[in-house]
Amino acid sequence: MTTTARDALIRAGRSRLTWPVLALVALLLVNVIVTPSFFDIRLQDGHLYGSLIDILKNGAPTLLIALGMTLVIATRGIDLSVGAVVAIAGAVACTSIAGAADSGGAAAAFTGIGLALLLCAVLGFWNGFLVSVLGIQPIIATLVLMITGRGIAMLITDGQIVTVNNPYYAGVGAGFVVLPVAILISVGMFALVGLVTRRTALGMLIESVGINPKASRLAGVRSRTIVWTVYVFCALCAAVGGLMISSNVSAADANNAGLWIELDAILAVVIGGTALSGGRYSLTGTLVGALLIQTLTTTVYTTGIAPEITLVFKALVVIVVCLIQAPKARALLRRRRTPVAPPNAAAPPEPAVAVETTPTRKVGQR
């Protein structure tokens, strides 16, 4: 009995997800201690209202973008342009809606949203083209759009903050169907990606491209198509995220919308245990990572940490989480936990570490 309990504990300790989840729980606990009403959720005008709901709503764009980023990173790539795509999506949608004849109508909202998604898909196509066809390093290829994208967004909005007054558009980021629409979209996309990549061979193909593109191509995997597709998908995720961000405030701010969100998204992926070197990826990990980042932000606001030290506080939490996840640091911790064990009992952690650092793993395992 006790051995199974200990086995479970050891297994939990080895899981990459344990520490981010613990950090998330710890942050939530800090919030409850400072603000006892933190977990309170009530019904307000027919929708749920509370701090936890805010975390879900405001974390939805990061979550969605991190989802796209996970797949890109799994193919050994990276997409730095998502922040710019966020700005462009909002700019296109708001400018189109503001310029429509019936700017408060459903037709205007859907035209704007459609145009934004279309343009952003083209941008993703461009990124994918640079990486998969021309073979430019992903970090450089997407840097192009990261730099120029904000310029494009500024051009579209004329450098102004475009305000729209459209209830349908506002629904995407600020609307509720009991739960915030934004989180429903993000979680829906999440489930869809989980289903498509984990219940079919697609997930394994993506991982194989990330581990060794050449070998997988020789084995008959159409790596170019896969890489190209993940960049288009990532740009689409960024576009929807951008629509959420801009519709949440019913305005497009080309300068500030999605500023540095690419770093948040990459951080969420890394905290979730997906290695930047490609290969194995964890969707659940990304989910936890994105929620952790948003909870961190909300914690800063609710606990009244002074703005001057906000960044230091965030940095500390992130450093601790990353350190504790590093294979070497974890091996050290584990050794310390069993200091008096006989040599043959202390042996197992070594291969366990080796297994974790190997990018390969069984298909279907989450």
Partner: protein
């Protein structure tokens, strides 16, 4: 012949600044027109675009030839622009510094070339005050003070008033000064700042911070936002919490851009302190004085006012930005 021409050129150069100015003017074909080089920060907000437009129009009206350069929020671009203005031998250089420090070298070059420099909107941090003639810009501390004074007056006899503050970008001059002025004005009254957090001058920042404030503090009476955009974000957060902005929770902001004025006229904001970007006419006035060699004060404050809801309704149709 050639030698004589070169001697003449050398002579002109030796004659110094005034002669040099004259020869520069004759090149452009008009001896009397003042040429001004202006380096703008960028086009990052509606406020900034209104600022640019005001300067362009005022220059045209005053008959000043304007060489305009957009720095796209980069100091290196601005330094390049100023150097090229010096080479073109403009009569006066004006610019809104992107950042506060690092200007000593390039301004020294301008000083050596005898070209006066005017700062607009933002100040620089330098020990050598002789590097520029004057600084024309808003007094951010005064803006904060005006906001605080209005609240003190408005909440007289109401007992304790709890204020939450939405700060601008941490460490920026407007954020620091607007906070300082506000605190100065409310000290000694029953008004208390119960929470303060940065919303980075953006709408979504203001909204997120306000959402969190509404949950961690049940007794908020007033929101003081360092700019309109954060105030607009706060309005949405307050509405989502089922409260009425402007009534259940009062809102004070700074800037007076169009969307903010609209919200003020709609009764969702209670008071706006203007931060006026339309400093073109004042700038041209200073330029003419500086070029004519008149003494100008080292610090000129832009003419600014405040708006209540009734005043906003009146002026809204003719607001330019």
């Amino acid at each position: 012949m050639l030698r004589r021409l070169m001697a003449a050129v050398a002579g002109v150069a030796l004659c110094g600044a005034l002669a040099a100015c004259g020869s520069g003017g004759s090149a452009s074909g008009d001896d009397d027109a003042i040429t001004m080089g202006f380096s703008q920060v960028g086009a990052e907000s509606g406020w900034r675009t209104a600022n640019t437009k005001s300067i362009r129009e005022a220059a045209k009206a005053a008959g000043i030839e304007l060489k305009f350069s957009d720095a796209q929020q980069k100091q290196e671009n601005q330094i390049k622009a100023i150097r090229s203005f010096i080479q073109q031998r403009v009569d006066v250089i004006a610019f809104s510094p992107v950042v506060e420090t690092g200007w000593d070298n390039v301004l020294l070059e301008a000083k050596r070339a005898n070209i006066p420099v005017i700062l607009t909107d933002r100040a620089i941090d330098s020990d050598d005050e002789s590097l520029y003639e004057t600084f024309l810009g808003s007094d951010f501390v005064e803006e904060g003070r005006k906001a605080g004074e209005w609240l003190v007056e408005d909440s007289k006899g109401e007992g304790t008033v709890n204020v939450v503050e939405l700060q601008g970008t941490t460490g920026s001059a407007p954020a620091l000064d607007r906070q300082e002025g506000f605190q100065e004005a409310i000290s000694g009254s029953d008004i208390k700042i119960i929470a303060s957090q940065t919303g980075d001058f953006t709408r979504s920042g203001g909204k997120q911070v306000m959402e969190a404030f509404l949950k961690s503090h049940s007794d908020i009476d007033v929101v003081y936002a360092h700019n309109d955009d954060m105030g607009l974000g706060a309005i949405e957060a307050i509405e989502a919490a089922g409260k009425k902005p402007g009534e259940d929770i009062k809102i004070i902001t700074v800037d007076a851009v169009k969307d903010g004025m609209q919200a003020l006229a709609d009764g969702k904001i209670n008071f706006i302190v203007e931060c006026n970007p339309l400093l073109g006419d004042q700038l041209m006035d200073l330029v003419q004085k500086v070029v004519a060699g008149e003494q100008v004060p080292k610090r000129v404050v832009v003419e600014e006012t405040t708006f209540t809801q009734e005043e906003a309704k009146k002026v809204l149709p003719e607001r330019q930005y």
